[in-house]
């Protein structure tokens, strides 16, 4: 592997890792507060990308507006899913998981008749390359990094500096105690659904100009995000960030050097090793 190729795949790895992190943070937030694993996260990623297809490419709106619309639309959808699926189930974890799985299957199956059988493509938003350390890097890939970083920082500030963020942390530690302090747990859980869905939509919206669009496109990033939250310790935010970067780098550098299958295999070997030595993940609590 040449130096140029290494730099290139490292940057692509960080950009890929950024997407994984956005996906994993939403999953972690929802798991930490409600102990549910959102199987629909990949389908939401897919919908987020299709919003870009229709509003930016077909509708001709500016990309930024389409990106914000994608986050808002799917954030509202997340709140409605809490309202209409999670809340009526009253905290039953297994029934919620089954319902989320059903929702996922429905969204993917409905995707074919609604979006059409053929793959869709979104034209580049930021065409061209940029020279970094003498290596040409796709601007499209590069742009993902600051956008994802801004979203992660915004999420961090929201969770740690606002009243609603404090309510989320309180629910994560003791849902009943949070309710006894006056937190409307349903509304705050709904907000967590909205944030998780909006972040998944942002991931899909960022990837839309890079990969082809089809109703199953969310499954691969969802799988990665699952791996990351296991790697980072379920419910751990720093763990999700470090895990996301590591997985993105493995995916990109190993795939460039050895091919996609070894990269896939290696990421699993890596996780098994990690779980053997640190059974609660990188930052997990033994609780």
């Amino acid at each position: 592997m040449t130096f140029a190729l290494f730099v290139q795949s490292a940057i692509v790895g960080v950009s890929l890792g950024s997407i994984y992190i956005l996906m994993a943070l939403g999953l972690t937030l929802m798991f930490g507060m409600m102990h549910i694993i959102n199987f629909a996260h990949g389908a939401v990623y897919m919908l987020g990308a299709f919003v870009i297809y229709y509003i930016f490419f077909q509708g001709g709106a500016p990309y930024f507006a389409a990106f914000v619309a994608s986050m808002i639309l799917l954030g509202v959808f997340g709140y409605l899913v809490e309202r209409s699926i999670y809340r009526p189930i009253k905290g039953g974890i297994e029934p919620t998981l089954v319902a989320l799985l059903a929702l996922t299957t429905f969204l993917q199956a409905a995707g074919y008749p609604v979006f059409g059988q053929l793959d869709k493509h979104v034209p580049p938003v930021f065409p061209g390359t940029r020279n970094i350390l003498g290596v040409g890097i796709s601007v499209e890939r590069l742009m993902i990094i600051p956008v994802a970083a801004a979203l992660v920082i915004a999420l961090y500030l929201f969770i740690n500096k606002t009243r609603l963020g404090a309510a989320m942390r309180a629910i994560e530690q003791d849902k009943e105690a949070a309710a006894l302090q006056g937190v409307n747990v349903h509304v705050v859980n709904g907000l967590a659904f909205a944030i998780g869905f909006a972040l998944a939509a942002a991931s899909g919206a960022l990837m839309a100009p890079i990969f082809k669009l089809d109703p199953m496109m969310g499954e691969q990033p969802l799988l990665k995000a699952f791996i990351i939250i296991i790697l980072g310790g379920l419910g751990s935010v720093p763990g999700a960030i470090l895990g996301g970067l590591m997985l993105g780098l493995i995916d990109s550098i190993v795939a460039t050097a050895l091919g996609a299958e070894p990269a896939f295999l290696l990421s699993f070997v890596f996780i098994i090793m990690l779980l053997l030595f640190r059974p609660t993940g990188l930052f997990g609590y033994a609780s």
Binding site: D174, A177, A179, L180, G182
Partner: protein, 233 residues
């Protein structure tokens, strides 16, 4: 101020509370005592919306509590210090206190905090420490202080002496008196019947979900049955 009538609560097939009635006059301390599993905790949980009672009425200042969610009960002026304290262990002492004032405006919070620090100077000292790292006694103080941050008219205390040394228990007793002197009515649930009946004006004795005795606290303290069953005398 609080009237509870014929309260029934069940968990699946377990009838935890069977037709309990009690009342709390404004400004008083009322105690519920009883052995393990008597239904004391469940009675409190039914009042603050943590469990839905199967039947019965509960009126606070003539408004029904039945069917309200916990956050709505807090807004009416009832604070509940649950069994086992239930602090937010990863939050600091100050963050825990701030959570207690969740439904109040920021301006009110500052003045309440000043008042709280007068009664609990240790909490000011420990403000930036994680709640999980406090000693058992300090945690109980914080749990009570957190509940007071909502400026309740009625405070529900579930076994505040649990796991505390005799010295800390006496300290908690002193605090309960001070709070009551600020015109906060109190329901005190205790297995430590001696402590409960010394602090309260009136007491109710629960046994396997039913009320078996009630009376003025000083009379209960002298009752032979109570002495034998709950005071270990």
């Amino acid at each position: 101020m609080l009237e509870v009538e014929n309260l029934w609560v069940r968990y699946g097939t377990v009838e935890a509370v069977r037709g309990v009635s009690f009342s709390v006059p404004a400004g008083s301390i009322v105690s519920l005592i009883g052995a393990n599993g008597a239904g004391k905790t469940t009675s409190l949980r039914a009042l603050t919306g943590l469990v839905k009672p199967g039947a019965g009425a509960a009126r606070f200042e003539s408004r029904s509590l039945i069917g309200l969610a916990p956050h709505q009960v807090v807004s009416l002026g009832i604070a509940h210090v649950p069994e086992g304290r239930r602090l937010f262990p990863k939050m600091t002492v100050l963050e825990n206190l701030t959570m207690g004032a969740y439904r109040r405006s920021r301006a009110d919070v500052a003045s309440t905090l000043t008042m709280i620090y007068e009664h609990f100077p240790i909490l000011k000292e420990r403000g930036r420490q994680r709640a999980g790292s406090l000693s058992g006694g300090e945690q109980q103080m914080l749990a009570i202080a957190r509940a007071l941050m909502s400026r309740p008219k009625l405070l529900l205390l579930d076994e505040p002496s649990m796991g505390l040394s005799p010295i800390m228990t006496a300290e908690v007793g002193k605090i309960i008196r001070q709070i009551n002197a600020l015109d906060v009515s109190i329901i005190l649930v205790e297995q430590n019947a001696m402590l409960a009946l010394t602090l309260a004006q009136y007491g109710y004795v629960l046994q396997t979900g039913q009320l078996v005795m009630q009376g003025k606290a000083q009379d209960l303290l002298r009752d032979e049955g109570v002495k034998k069953a709950y005071l270990g005398l």
